[in-house]
Symmetry: C2
Subunit: 334 residues, 2 copies
């Protein structure tokens, strides 16, 4: 069974509390938008597409709760929801998309406006679900029964409104009856691979083996990996790909060992305003993510930490991009 | 100040409790050999050379405590100490070396025999100290002020009877007044880099920056690493080197980025009975080392885990070996 991170159940929104994974699987039904905002802030829901979808539903809940479909009220609620995670691009995008739709139809009756917001939120969700499905179907053609696929971070059902991007390809292979084995990097510092990817694949009945990030090279040398597949945060015009820290090292190791390296991402991840990865500024995360684990200090107090949020994999290390519009070749030449 | 993991203080043995690092720096003086055995079992002292030295001192304490210098008693105590960590090669080696010395001089008076055991234990400690010193001095010639050196795991004062092997080179550079900056891989799963290497270098006043293992590639690509230096568990006849898991990935990344990769180890680490790394059997560690952190589960219950204790870096990725007899070229051709 593929898990659902977000589900609309009548006029409520059901979210899986990802902060409790992998120990506990707790779903909560929300009918109060303020609680959804809190859930977004507390990272109960995470992954760019999943955050956008939750925010869209939160706006529908909010307008329904306040019973006020005036433009002023909707804009005020929209701003309140956007503030939950101000840097989450998908969140602003989803809310702005609904506002635009509402603006175009503002002559409608109050109940029509509320209905419009619910429909648009559901459309955002459904489009994401279909986008995952298309990526999965295009990508699955690249894999066959018996493959052992390495992945990094979490790009699955827990991060999206559907079956995910890189993991969407894996789920699709599984649904097609292909016998595949996934190796999941634990993905320090936040351990999304260990906590989330391993959990959702196991739940779906897919064989998954967990490893620490520094074990991937040895696995490749032993011939145990047939392909690598990862997601992407941003892809620049020349194909350079920003993704979770550690992706670049995996890409280098894949090339050295002659293992195909695939990036699975929707066309919306392709940023046509940025020429190359060199233009992407890489922010540093909080040192505490590296020096503490669940509150326990694992490094000396006050130690200097290097902790970039992501890295950039140059196009020449990428075999192909798996998008919702098909497979696009990367710059890697064997 | 370079920390001392083991020190003889009169007729007592002072050990730094490494299980409490990096939060607490606790030294304990032992005059009861059974407590030293417990300290070895509980990993208060770790690192192959440090375990051997502690065991040697424990035998001296034991013979003194029991007041019985008969061959039968010494052999019995030796077996008891060896059982503390049956797979620790340095432990058996140190104990057997003392037994051999005792056997050759068995006509001595009881107090002479006890004295002999203390002397031999001190000699083992002193030889290790000098060995570290020599590695440090040979190695330091390869580094200059301004270098930024990446290391993996812990191979320093906490693991040996002296200043360490790879870290011994770094300490020697520092003592020579070279301004160096160390980047320390945290070294999953047991986090020796975060808990131990970062701690001992910081204490010695050497600039150290901690990173998760998967960040090393990006650092290299950014031009921030000038050399890599690591230790070794075993080096086969052709130069293939078994060392802490993750070393191989670092070696591949170093080669791809044109960064020298050095292995620092005493000549005793060179195993003349093994032709190549392919002959080395790699055991798997307990899955719990990967799936739990300080008791907290970070992965789903019962998940399959790949957790090799070490990996093998082929000679062709090694620029040079830094030994206590000088620098020996590795097989890497730029």
């Amino acid at each position: 069974m593929i898990v659902k991170a977000i589900e609309r159940v009548g006029d409520k929104i059901r979210l899986l509390d990802q902060t409790r994974l992998p120990s506990e699987e707790i779903y909560r039904d929300y009918d109060d938008y303020k609680e959804v905002i809190e859930a977004i802030k507390r990272l109960e829901v995470r992954g760019a597409p999943a955050i956008g979808i939750s925010a869209a539903y939160a706006l529908a809940l909010a307008v329904g709760q306040t019973g006020d479909t005036s433009r002023a009220n909707i804009v005020k609620l929209a701003e309140e929801i956007k503030a939950a995670r101000p840097t989450a691009v998908n969140l602003s995008w989803a809310i702005d998309r609904i506002l635009e739709k509402v603006n175009k139809s503002f002559s409608g009756k109050p109940e029509d406006i509320l209905q419009l917001i619910w429909s648009e939120a559901a459309a955002i969700h459904e489009e994401d679900r279909l986008m995952c499905r298309r990526i999965g179907e295009f990508g699955a053609d690249l894999f066959k029964s018996g493959d052992s696929i390495l992945t990094h971070c979490n790009t699955g059902a827990l991060a999206t409104g559907g079956i995910g991007t890189a993991l969407g390809v894996i789920y699709t292979c599984h649904q097609q009856g292909k016998n595949i084995h996934v190796y999941a990097d634990e993905t320090r510092p936040l351990l999304q691979g260990a906590r989330l990817t391993a959990w959702e694949l196991k739940k779906a009945g897919i064989r998954v083996t967990l490893l620490t990030d520094n074990m991937a090279g040895m696995l490749m040398r032993q011939g145990k990996i047939s392909q690598v597949i990862v997601g992407a945060d941003r892809i620049t015009k020349n194909g350079d790909t920003a993704n979770k820290i550690g992706t670049y090292s995996v890409a280098v190791l894949a090339k050295v060992h002659g293992i195909p390296f695939y990036v699975a991402a929707p066309m919306s991840t392709f940023d046509r305003t940025t020429e190359t990865g060199d233009e992407i500024e890489i922010e540093q995360r909080s040192p505490a993510e590296v020096t503490r684990l669940f509150g326990t200090p694992i490094a000396p107090e006050g130690i200097e930490v290097f902790s970039p949020a992501f890295d950039v994999t140059p196009d020449e290390l990428i075999t192909a991009f798996i998008t919702d519009e098909g497979i696009k070749p990367g710059g890697r030449k064997e």
